[in-house]
């Protein structure tokens, strides 16, 4: 088991003919992900790395039975692509595109919730269940199959953490990059619940950063609903207030959203917080008594 993606994932790549779409399609196939088709309007009939291209998501589903879609289309058109996927019956949409307007996401997220379509992102690196499926832009070689569930607001910081886990022999059940935007699809609470229910996951790593109050809400959720051990990390402790640290959501505004507050919220509910990435494996080993 794992969450969200696995051997049964039949993946579509929306925007497959673009530079990044095509490059990462190749990487996903190499990893062993079952990429069944691509979508690029007006380019039906082409093949990209042996994958058939369709004009619409609906056409692609009819021919391939796809159930998951990853979005590589440019940010201004990403919202439409997400809606098209949901409309056509895709169950899980992963939006990689960076710079999707917040107001587009405000429009898209409640619609998807109503339809029961799960969304990861936008502005995220994707997700992976090691040895089963990798969806997105993650460097597959650093992951190892195992029992740690990981979720993170950042892309490259996720890789750093995974690198630490893998080199310490701690494999992962599923790693999910939820994205750095202020309005996004699945967030900590939903993923915590999924990991809680996944029999393969034994411990959870939550990687947060400054800005917003998602980590504080996650802490509350952990206290009320999660029985598995959780370890945290917060990026941006040295960030000056009032500055947007790259991610649209990573800003300490009017003194709220600081790293210290988030660490305090976690520690108050018994979640141990690592001070640097390399501490994560030690904390996990102690909690899992390895």
């Amino acid at each position: 088991m794992s969450i969200l993606v696995n051997k049964n994932t039949k993946l579509l790549v929306q925007g497959i003919t673009g530079r990044d779409g095509s490059f990462h399609t190749k990487k996903m196939i190499e990893y062993g992900t079952n990429v069944v088709g691509g979508v690029s309007p007006g380019k039906s009939g082409q093949l990209v790395h042996g994958v058939p291209v369709f004009n619409t998501v609906a056409d692609a589903i009819k021919s391939t039975g796809a159930n998951t879609s990853v979005i590589f289309v440019p940010a201004p058109f990403a919202a439409d692509a997400i809606l098209e996927a949901s409309e056509a019956g895709i169950e899980l949409v992963i939006a990689i595109s960076e710079g999707v307007p917040t107001l587009d996401m405000v429009r898209v997220t409640p619609y998807l919730k109503k339809r029961g379509t799960k969304l990861v992102g936008a502005n995220c690196p994707g997700l992976i269940s090691p040895d089963e499926a990798m969806v997105g832009i993650l460097p597959g070689n650093i992951f190892l199959k195992g029992n740690i569930g990981l979720m993170s607001r950042s892309g490259t910081l996720t890789y750093e953490m995974v690198y630490q886990l893998t080199s310490n022999g701690l494999g992962q059940s599923t790693c999910v990059g939820i994205g750095g935007d202020p309005v996004a699809g699945l967030y900590y609470e939903e993923l915590l619940q999924m990991f809680e229910e996944d029999p393969e996951t034994e411990a959870i790593v939550l990687i947060g950063e400054i800005g917003g109050d998602a980590e504080e809400r996650a802490a509350q959720y952990i206290k009320e609903h999660i029985t598995k051990p959780v370890v945290g990390f917060i990026g941006g402790l040295t960030a000056p207030p009032g500055k947007r640290m790259g991610h649209a959501g990573a800003i300490i505004s009017s003194g709220t959203g600081t790293g210290a507050e988030k660490i305090a919220a976690f520690e108050a509910v018994g979640v141990q917080v690592a001070r640097q990435p390399s501490e994560i494996p030690e904390l996990l080993k102690k909690l899992l008594k390895i």
Partner: protein
């Protein structure tokens, strides 16, 4: 002796009297014994008063003039009064202009500069342009003259600018329009970015996310989360990061060159720490960009490179063949950068 039957009007006309009152305000602005901030305020009060005077009182005199009432009825002739108001106003405007120049110069002595659009440099121009686009443009609407005839869209108590609209391509003909001047928001003054903020704006134009800090270790990282964690790591080991710099999720070698130049523009930087974990950014491209950048810029300070992830094998080989030293982990990189920055100071 006063002649009998000659009507003598013993009062000063109220409009003229008011203008003299306002001149008194201007005198306070001119008075160098007043604090500078008070003098600016007096100048503002004078100017605001005058706006209202024209909007309300002069408007009434104008309407009187249009009615053409006799002098005996009003004790004055509206057309003549308008002329007189014009004369006094012209004199006061000269006085105002001289006073304004003096105050602007005194402000400059205090390092406060009021400049116009012709004094802006390129970065300030970019900043003003984006400020206009985001904050001013949404609240101004040109009213075309053609559409004004017979309509009541013009409001009393408002200030309008008359503008000429022309088409830079010369296809449409010139048209006149009015713009109602927004008086409350946005503010009448715009504070231009400081040197540091200027750098941030220029960096953004090049697709780099940069924030200057006070330390001595220049950081170049891909991804915002890792960039934050890198800063935190440097601090954790007792060093001080010189900046936050996310070179973004693409793998364009030009970006590495721009990023290098940006870090080196900060004279506090004693060591450069490059921390790349490749996902969408391919390590071989980063390595090529690094070598290209190092060929272009002479770098006198040590560099610590940490490269891992997509195509990392190829990237490390490229760096190795250019004899650039690399380290394996992020904490190693941070510790090495800190010790090098300390050595450099010695």
């Amino acid at each position: 002796m006063v002649k009998k039957n000659t009507p003598v009007f013993r009062f000063i006309n109220r409009e003229i009297s008011w203008l003299h009152f306002n001149e008194r305000v201007l005198q306070e602005a001119e008075d160098e014994s007043n604090p500078l901030i008070e003098r600016i305020k007096f100048l503002g009060i004078y100017s605001n008063n005058l706006d209202e005077f024209f909007r309300v009182r002069v408007a009434t005199v104008n309407r009187m003039a249009a009615l053409n009432k006799s002098e005996s009825f009003l004790n004055y002739k509206p057309a003549k009064l308008l002329k007189k108001i014009g004369e006094i106003d012209a004199l006061q405007e000269k006085q105002f202009a001289a006073c304004y120049v003096k105050i602007v110069n005194s402000l400059a002595d205090q390092n406060i500069f009021i400049i116009n659009e012709k004094n802006l440099n390129t970065t300030q121009g970019l900043f003003v342009r984006s400020y206009f686009r985001d904050h001013v443009r949404p609240v101004i609407f040109p009213l075309m003259f053609d559409n004004l005839r017979g309509s009541n869209t013009l409001e009393d108590n408002s200030i309008y600018l008359t503008i000429v609209l022309n088409d830079s391509k010369g296809i449409a003909k010139e048209q006149m329009a009015l713009i109602k001047v927004p008086t409350k928001n946005p503010s009448r003054f715009l504070i231009l970015p400081s040197e540091d903020e200027k750098k941030e704006i220029l960096a953004k134009e090049k697709g780099l996310s940069y924030i200057r800090l006070d330390g001595s270790i220049g950081c170049m990282v891909n991804g915002a989360g890792l960039a934050m964690a890198t800063m935190d790591m440097i601090k954790l080991y007792g060093g001080e990061p010189a900046n936050f710099l996310d070179i973004g999720g693409s793998s364009n070698p030009q970006k590495v060159i721009d990023a290098m130049n940006l870090i080196l523009s900060d004279k506090n930087v004693k060591v450069i720490m490059i921390n790349i974990f490749g996902g969408i950014t391919r390590c071989d491209d980063v390595a090529k960009g690094l070598i290209a950048a190092l060929e272009q810029i002479k770098i006198q300070i040590p560099i610590v490179i940490r490269l891992s992830g997509t195509n990392s094998k190829e990237g490390l080989e490229i760096l190795k063949s250019a004899s650039l030293p690399t380290v394996e982990t992020m904490s190693e990189a941070a510790q090495k950068a800190i010790s090098l920055s300390v050595d450099f100071l010695r």
